[in-house]
Chain length 354, copies 4
C-alpha cells in the first residue's frame, strides 16, 4: 500500500503524475503543535525541480493546499491533508509507453500488478513527483521533532565515483549541512559531483549515488526488538523512495570485512553520561537506539530515464522493440532526493517516539 501504518502515525500518499492532484494524509499527529508553513514550503523547495541545469526543467507549482488538520496553523489532532495540484494532466502521448515499458522503470511490473490498468502517464503513481507529498509530511513531522531537540540532516555521500567525506558518526550533531543547495561536506567534492552529473547529461545518460543521513538528539531506548526496531522501520520506509536499492546502518556492508575487535563500540563515560567511543553501530543495537547518532546510507540507482535508445518490447505483441524516451528528466535524482530521505526519516522517527 501507499500507506505507512506506524505504531502511532499513519501516512497515506495519493496521486499520479498526471492525475488532478497528489497529496498526503497524516493521521494522528500530536495536537497543539504550531506548524510554520513557510518553513514547510522552504523544505519542499529543496526537492523542487528546475533549480539548476542538473535537474529536470519542468516547472512545478508545488505549493500544497491544507485541507484539514490545522486550526489557525496549529495541529488539532485529527488528520492533516495537503493537496498539490497537477498542472500537466492526462496528456495523450503515453499510449506509446503503455505498451513499451521503459527499462528498469515500474512500467512493466506495474502493468503486471494491475492487469494493464496501471496509469503510465508520467510514471503514474510511481513518478518521482510523488516524493513532494512525502516531503510535505516529513517537513511537518520535522518541526515536531525539532521542538524535542531532534535534528535530521543528510548529504550526498557519493555521485558515481566521486565521494564526499562521511559524517563524523560521533560528533555529527554539531554539523549544519541540511539546507545547502547542493548538500555536501566537502565543496570540492561537490564540484566534481556536479561535473559528473553534467557529463552524464550531455551524454544523454544518468548517474546514481549515495545519500548519508544522521539523526541526532535521540534518547537511548527507542525501538522494539526483532521486526519493529528502528532499523526495520527506517529500512521499510526508505525503500518507499523511488530508486533506492540499498540501505545500511553504521558500518553497514563495511562491517562484513572487519574483526569484532574493530567493529565493536567500546563504552566510555563522557560528562557523566554513558557513550560509545566509536559509533560503528550507527546508534542502534538490537533494533533499539543506544543514544549515539543514528547514521545510515541509502543507495540510489541512476535515473532509469535516459535519452539513449534502449531495448524494450511490445507487451501486447510479445515482440522486441526499440524505445527512445522523450520529455525532461533529471540526469541524477540524488541531489533532489536529499530532503526526501530526511523527510521519510522524520515521520518514521516521530512515529517511533510517540
Amino acid at each position: 500500500m501507499s500507506s505507512m501504518t506506524g505504531n502511532k502515525i499513519k501516512i497515506s500518499v495519493f496521486g499520479q503524475s498526471h492525475s488532478e492532484g497528489i497529496g498526503v494524509v497524516i493521521d494522528s499527529l500530536p495536537a497543539g503543535k504550531k506548524i510554520d508553513l513557510e518553513k514547510v514550503y522552504q523544505f519542499m523547495e529543496r526537492r523542487a525541480p528546475g533549480r539548476s541545469i542538473l535537474s529536470t526543467q519542468r516547472k512545478e507549482a508545488d505549493k500544497p493546499e491544507i485541507l484539514s488538520g490545522l486550526v489557525n496553523g496549529v495541529t488539532c489532532g485529527v488528520p492533516l491533508c495537503a493537496v498539490i495540484r497537477n498542472t500537466n494532466t492526462r496528456s495523450a502521448d503515453y499510449n506509446n509507453i503503455a505498451d513499451t515499458p521503459r527499462p528498469s522503470h515500474a512500467d512493466f511490473s506495474g502493468f503486471m500488478r494491475y492487469n494493464g490498468f496501471n496509469d503510465v502517464a508520467g510514471g503514474g503513481h510511481f513518478s518521482g513527483r510523488l516524493t513532494a507529498p512525502l516531503c510535505f509530511a516529513g517537513a511537518v513531522c520535522m518541526q515536531v521533532l525539532e521542538e524535542m531537540g531532534i535534528k535530521i540532516q543528510a548529504h550526498i555521500l557519493r555521485i558515481k565515483d566521486v565521494s564526499d567525506e562521511s559524517f563524523n558518526p560521533v560528533s555529527v550533531a554539531e554539523m549544519n549541512i541540511g539546507k545547502k543547495p547542493f548538500p555536501v561536506i566537502n565543496e570540492k567534492a561537490g564540484e566534481k559531483m556536479r561535473a559528473e552529473i553534467d557529463k552524464a547529461r550531455l551524454d544523454c545518460n544518468s548517474v546514481g549515488g549515495i545519500i548519508e543521513c544522521a539523526v541526532t538528539g535521540l534518547r537511548a531506548g527507542l525501538g522494539n526488538p526483532m521486526f519493529d526496531g528502528v532499523e526495520n522501520m527506517l529500512a521499510k520506509n526508505i525503500f518507499g523512495i523511488p530508486a533506492v536499492k540499498g540501505i545500511e546502518f553504521g558500518n553497514g556492508f563495511g562491517a562484513a570485512g572487519l574483526f569484532g575487535s574493530e567493529n565493536n563500540d567500546d563504552f566510555c563515560i563522557e560528562n557523566g553520561e554513558i557513550k560509545t567511543v566509536t559509533n560503528n553501530s550507527g546508534g542502534i543495537n538490537g533494533g533499539i537506539t543506544n543514544g549515539m547518532p543514528i547514521i545510515f546510507r541509502a543507495a540510489f540507482k541512476p535515473t532509469p530515464s535516459i535519452y539513449k535508445e534502449q531495448n524494450s518490447v511490445s507487451i501486447k505483441d510479445k515482440t522486441e522493440k526499440k524505445l527512445k524516451i522523450e520529455g525532461r528528466h533529471d540526469p541524477c535524482i540524488v541531489p533532489r532526493a536529499v530532503p526526501v530521505v530526511e523527510a521519510v526519516t522524520a515521520f518514521t522517527i516521530l512515529d517511533m517516539i510517540m
Copy 2:
C-alpha cells in the same frame, strides 16, 4: 514488536535465551497443506550450533514441539504454535553483564528500553537462539512455497576479505546450493573463508560477512507501491535477524557508481515471454516483482561477543570498567545465518503471495 504482521500471515516469536522455552506462532497459514516435519527439522539443523569447530559448542536439543495448527500433519488453517524447550535456564551468573553491557550488543539499549528490567541472561530475547523459531516458521512456509514452484536459496558471499562468486542473477534458478553444510558456490573460496574464521577464533576475535539470497519462480506483479513493496517488506523483516546491518537488492550500492545505460535492464523476448537481458534490478521495480529472480544481499557484522578484554562501563555507577566475556560464542555467525535468511525470506514472500 517481535511480531511480523504481514498482509495475510502473522508471525509472533517469543522466548529468551534462558526462559523456559522459545517458540513461534504462525497465524493464517493456508489450510490443507501437508507439512513434512522431518524436512522442517533438517532445515533447522542447518542453523543448529555445534556442527563444527567454527560454531559455538553449546549443544541444543532444538527439536520443536507442535502445540497446535496441525491435524495429522496437515495445516488446519488456525494458528500453528511450535515450542522449543530451553535446557539452560536462569543461570545466576549474568548479574555481571546486567550492569556491565557488552560492547555492540543490545545489553545497554535493552536496559534503556526496558528500564533495567530486560532479561540479560544469555542475551535474553536478543539472543541468536531466537533465530531457531524463525527457522521453524520459515521452513514451514517454504514447503508451501515449494508446492507453488518457488525456490529460495542463499549462500555465503563473503567472510572478511574472502569472496565467493555471486549468483548469476539471470540463471540462478538452475543452481542448487541451499543445503551444503558450508554453503558457497566456489569451494576454494569456502576453504579460505573457514580459514579466516578459524584464525579469528584462535585470536579470540570474530569476523563478519555477507549472505546473498535468491528467490526464483515468482510471477511478475507481486508487491505494492511505496511502503508495502517487496523490497520494503524483505528489508523490514531481514533486519529482524540479529547482526544484520545492511541490505541491498540487485546491484544495490554498486548501482550508485554506474551510468543509467549500464544499470538499466533491457527487455527481451525469450520463449515468448518478456524477460530482461540483465537483472541489475534484482527482480523488483517500483517495489513490484518483474518476473526475474529476486536477488538481495545482507551484511552481517562480526559477532560482538569476543574473548578479548573490552572497555565497558558500570551502568549503575557511571564508571568505566573492563569486561571479559565468558561462555561459548561463534567466531562468525554467518554460516549459521544462511538458513535464517532463507527462512525470513520464505515467510515474507508467502505473506505477499497469499
Copy 3:
C-alpha cells in the same frame, strides 16, 4: 485513527466541518474496475441534507472531486482520493462552544483528548458531515461488490416507539428497499415515523432509532476466527458512524431470552445447496459467513444537538453554565444514516473478500 486498516483495503478519512475540505483516500482498490461516478453521486444524495423538512436545512454542494486513482473512470490500482470542499469555513462564532461543551457531543472528550486544541467549529472532525466521504468510499466499493453479485441494503427499523417490519432474514435478497427516499418496508410505519420526527422537531427535541442492514450474495467461508471475523470487523467500523451506540447480529440481544432449541438454525438442503431453515445467526458462525444473508442492526442515539436549554459547564472556570444550541440540526439523523450504514458495510465486506 480515522483510518480503517483492513487486511487489504485502507480507508483514510480527513477533514473537519469547517476546514477547507473533507475527503477520503481509498488505498488498494482492485484495478480495472469501471466506476460510474453518476451512481456514486446518486448514492451520496441519499445522505445529503435538505431533502425534507425532517433534515437539516444547510445546503451542501457535496459533489466530490476525484484527485487520483481513476484513469478514464477506471480504477488504476493506486490510491483513489476524493475531496469535497467546505463552503462554510472558519466561522468565528464557535468560541462559545469551545469552552461550553454540548451534552453528549464529543466537545468535552475531544477537548480532553487533544488538550484543548480540538477543532470545535461545527463539531470539527466529529461532525456528521464526515459521513459524506464514508458514503463516497462505500459507493465506490459497492460497485465492485455488485459486480460479484453482492447486495447491501438497509432500512429504518425503528424511530422512537414506531417499528418497521424486520427483514425476512432468509429471503431478504429478493427485496429492493435501498433507494427509497425514506427507506422502510411498511409505508404506514414510515408515515408514523415521520410524524414522530416532526413532533420532536416542533418540540425542539430529537429522537433516535435503529437501522437494519442485510448483505446478500456472499459465499460461505468468509472471515477469520476470533478477532478478525465478520462480526468483529463490521462492529469496529459501524461504531465509526457518529451516534451509533449498539450493534447486534441475527437475533442479537433477543437471543439472550431464548432456548438453544429456539435459537439454533437447523440445516437443510435446498436445490442441492446446504442452507439453514432459519437465520437466527445473521449469516455468521464463529466469525465466518455460513452462506445465509448477513443481518445486523445498529442503534442510533437521538441527535445530541437539541434547541432546548441544557446544563453545561465552563471547562476553563469549572463552573456550571446554561447552554442553548443555535444553528440548524436534524431532529433525527437516522434516515440520512441509512446509506452511511450501507457504505461502511460495503468497504468492510469488500476488504474481507479481497
Copy 4:
C-alpha cells in the same frame, strides 16, 4: 486472525480443543511489572468448568506454564507466552461431526473457510476452551491496570427472562461484584437465574443471557476518532468471545426509543471536577472517554450444543440428516463468560492506555 493487533499490545491466541496445547503470546507488555501468578490462576478459576452442576463436568487442569516474558515474576518487556496443556487430545470420535455440522456452531462455516481441513475435534479452535488463554492474558493486563487505579467488573444482567439490577452507571466504581461465584447484584435474581439454567439442563436444552461490564478509574480523553475509538476496539474484541451476538454502550439500543432531552448527559461540577449527571453515554462520546465509567453489555446466545435431536446435513452427500450431540456441555455459558468479558476488556483498555 486469532491475533488482536492493538496500537501497542498484541495478543496471539493459539490452540485447538484437542491439540497438544493452547495458549497465548502477549507482545509489548510494559516492562518492570510484578505479576502475581497466584492471582492470575484465581482469576482463571472463575471461568474453569466443573464448579457446579450448571457447568460442564469436564475436568481441566488449566494451570498455564509461563514459557517467556517474566524474570523472577516481573515482566521484562518482551513477549510473554503461556501454554496450557490439553489432556484430552485427538479422540477419534469426531469423524461424525466433521461431516455433520452442529446447528449454529462454526463447524460448517469453518469447513467452508478451511476447505474441509478445519479441526472439528471438540470444536477445534472455535471451542470455548480457547477462552482460557484469553482469561490468562486479561488477568495479566488487569494487574497492570489495577496499579493505575483502573477497575473492571462484570455481572450477569440477564439469563433467559430473569434480569439482575443494572449497574448504577454513575456510581459503579464503589461496587465490588467481580469475584462472586455467580456474579449478580441481586442474589434473589441470581437464584432464579440458576433455576432457569437448571431447568434448561434437565430439558436437554440451553439458555442465553446478557453480561454487563463496567470500567472505572479511566481518565477522560482516551481513544481516537472514527475507526479507532474505545467503542470500536471493545466491540471488535468482545465479538472475539464465542457466542457473543451483540454489544451496546450506555443506553445502547434503549437510546433508540428516547428523546434527545432524555438521553443527553447534562454536565455538572462535582468536587471541582467536570462530570455528567447521568451516564447514558456509557462513558464515551465520539469514541473517546469522557471520564465517566465505561458501561457496556454483551448478548450471549444460548449454547448451540444441546442434547435434543436436531436437523443437520451430510456435507459430503448433500443430504439431510438427524444429529444428536454427545459429550458434556454447559446448558448456559454466561456465568463462565463473565471473567472472559472482563479479560478481553482488560487487554483492550490496556492497549489503548499505553
